[in-house]
Symmetry: C2
Subunit: 413 residues, 2 copies
């Protein structure tokens, strides 16, 4: 099965928005064994959208059209599709009720432009959008399906997951199965070198993909076989040898984030965590509390940018600050212990580093970060060199300290 | 002048790489007044690349082709272009010397595959690539220029900046200028309704684009005129009336984020800020400290998820918690005051809300958030309904409280 994507949005061509939707769609389709043949990005211009629709490849079964469904004048997709498929716009009171309900939750009332969002061409099936005002639309012509969905990422994902991917899956005849292995802290090239022999020994029908994101590599092992049973056997066998090869570097065997894994482990042992952050500025706490239900195991945290905050709120000894500086082994350990004590938590996580743009020295260059974990029987601290890109250094530090906590939690009896 | 981009790379369609090159190219072209009409992404497959080349729009002057120029077998672009333009590959010793020099810097020697990178079609002008092994190639046909450059971002940018953009600039006769207006806290549809009359009264040569991201709408006002002077006059006039219309809802007149604006204002008046976060879990502090140099005005913060943390670390009266609950006016005000006092800051920002998945009630449904700002002469708190999407609620809360702080700072004498 094959698909193509048409992304509509002047902002995508002006470079003001990086199109991350298409990568997500490409990944989901590839998981279903569907080949994404082409992606075309055009502006919110009638002629250019029409040209893209007219140029759709004849041998694709699905055409996924994103964007241009907002309430403003420059969102033209619905009108263009309505004309292209020779339809007539029909007002759907149930769509408008949904829009009203969405607005009501925010204490607002929809305007006239939102009312038009409840109109849908009569030649399509409309796809409910539980998380936004613009419904999706599914058209069919000569065995080709055209689905139009909003460009807002969470709305796009919602409609794809709820209405589109299940249909594609149902139609697909490939037996495709994936296993995911989440690896943290090893650069992709190093990981690839460690795995080169294992990879070349993979049985026929199996393939491996590296899906890197900052600090994490997701390994996707795919089986394409004649039957589900054959896929299971192949994947079980290869997974076992991969576990032996990578051991503890695999932090999860499904698409979990490190903060979800840490949360699950903390809940399982009924323990709590608190943070003491300097250079990460609240990002460790923010990532931990991103998970619904994290109030069960996150006590809280202290962002101690200023030295006086480190002393007063975390009990860091003034002498340590004076003698070793804020970015040092004793200070970061004292911060982790302080978070644990002051917030009455089982585990304390701490960061202190030089993120720039100023403040680097020969002994502690830009990107020097000390991280610490304090917990039952654990008093760990280490120094890292995170590079000179501020946001990436923060992200790496957060992932690193959570990864260490995961290791200690996994080791706990 | 018009352009289109063809990006070649199977990894772009599998979702393994997010194509950030195209956004960069689009932004550079738009700055030069060149309209990027279309972007097409295809796999490293001869048929699909040829189809894209054959479908190039007749009215574009520049076709920018990225990717597929590496030394490995799956990089096919050069061969395809050579055939497409009817050329013959010719070996250039000066290109090979450059490749050898690049390898020597890493203590390596080029292989046979790298030698082939020194071959270039005789029907193109080759563009030196100082930072990589694959040269760019410039073909011309019927007044249309086709330029092929590597997909590696820093090599792409280097060749574009050195060889391609200067030529485009020299040819362009458009006078184009942009002004940006950053608006926070007004949904795109509501903003569009407020602006509909203003927008329809825009002078010829001016156009407006809405570029929304969560919680923020960037308005871009563009002038395309015969002269820079005319552009200035038009933009000055329209900007003045836009300022009158939107007033304080414009938080910046360039592409600044709210956290940058707050940082600039705090630095200007020599004041500091501290945070007391419950439902936002550290995200206010994390956003404030994202800005390099924020240690000048961020004292730190307290993430008080647990009630005991609110009491002990922030001095929230136990009676208020018992009587009104953690998500209440008195508690959030006490938190903001507590942050200010405990962290010795001029301003205190606080959040307390119900982000779910559990914990909602009829009186305080999911998404109920109290925000507070405490500062010199300011003791503000308000209740919001942020909806039931956890991450968006956090993001909206963070932007809202920073926006309020901005308002108070802007009002300060």
């Amino acid at each position: 099965m094959q698909a193509e994507v048409i992304a509509i949005g002047t902002e995508l061509l002006l470079g003001q928005t990086i199109d991350s939707n298409s990568a997500w769609i490409g990944e989901r389709l590839s998981e279903l064994g569907v080949t994404l043949r082409r992606k075309t990005v055009v502006a919110d211009r009638v002629d250019d959208v029409l040209a893209a629709l007219n140029a759709v490849m004849a041998d694709t079964q699905w055409v996924i059209i994103t964007g241009g469904l907002g309430p403003t004048k420059d969102d033209l997709t619905k009108g263009i599709l309505n004309d292209f498929f020779g339809g007539r716009l029909v007002y759907h009171p149930e769509i408008y009720s949904h829009i009203e309900a969405l607005f009501a939750r925010m204490g607002r009332v929809p305007g006239a432009l939102n009312r038009e969002q409840a109109e849908v061409p009569d030649v399509c099936e409309w796809l409910p959008n539980a998380v936004g005002t613009a419904p999706g639309m599914l058209f069919e012509r000569k065995g080709q399906r055209f689905v139009s969905i909003p460009g807002v990422p969470f709305e796009m994902k919602h409609i794809m997951e709820t209405h589109v991917l299940p249909r594609i899956r149902a139609e697909s005849d490939a037996h495709i199965e994936h296993r995911f292995f989440m690896v943290q802290g090893i650069p992709e090239s190093e990981l690839a070198e460690r795995m080169v022999d294992w990879e070349s020994s993979l049985a026929k029908g199996l393939s491996l993909a590296y899906l890197p994101s900052p600090g994490i590599v997701k390994l996707r092992l795919t089986a394409r076989t004649a039957s589900d049973h054959a896929a299971h056997l192949l994947l079980d066998h290869a997974s076992a040898s991969l576990r032996t090869l990578l051991g503890r570097d695999i932090f999860a065997e499904n698409i979990l984030s490190i903060e979800e894994v840490v949360g699950e482990l903390l809940k399982a042992c009924g323990q709590t965590v608190a943070t003491a952050e300097s250079c990460t500025g609240g990002s460790i706490a923010a990532l931990l509390t991103r998970i619904p239900g994290s109030s069960q195991y996150v006590q809280g945290g202290i962002v101690a940018y200023a030295n006086e905050a480190k002393i007063q709120l975390l009990g860091v000894p003034e002498a340590d600050l004076a003698q070793h500086g804020a970015v040092s082994d004793p200070v970061v350990r004292a911060m982790a212990r302080g978070a644990r004590q002051r917030l009455n938590a089982d585990w304390g996580l701490a960061s202190s580093g030089i993120m720039g743009p100023d403040g680097g020295s020969a002994a502690k260059p830009l990107g020097t970060v000390w991280l610490a974990v304090s917990g039952p029987g654990v008093d760990w601290a280490a120094r890292f060199q995170m590079g000179d890109h501020r946001e990436r250094s923060v992200r790496k530090s957060v992932l690193e300290v959570l990864s260490r906590l995961r290791g200690f939690l996994a080791d706990s009896p």
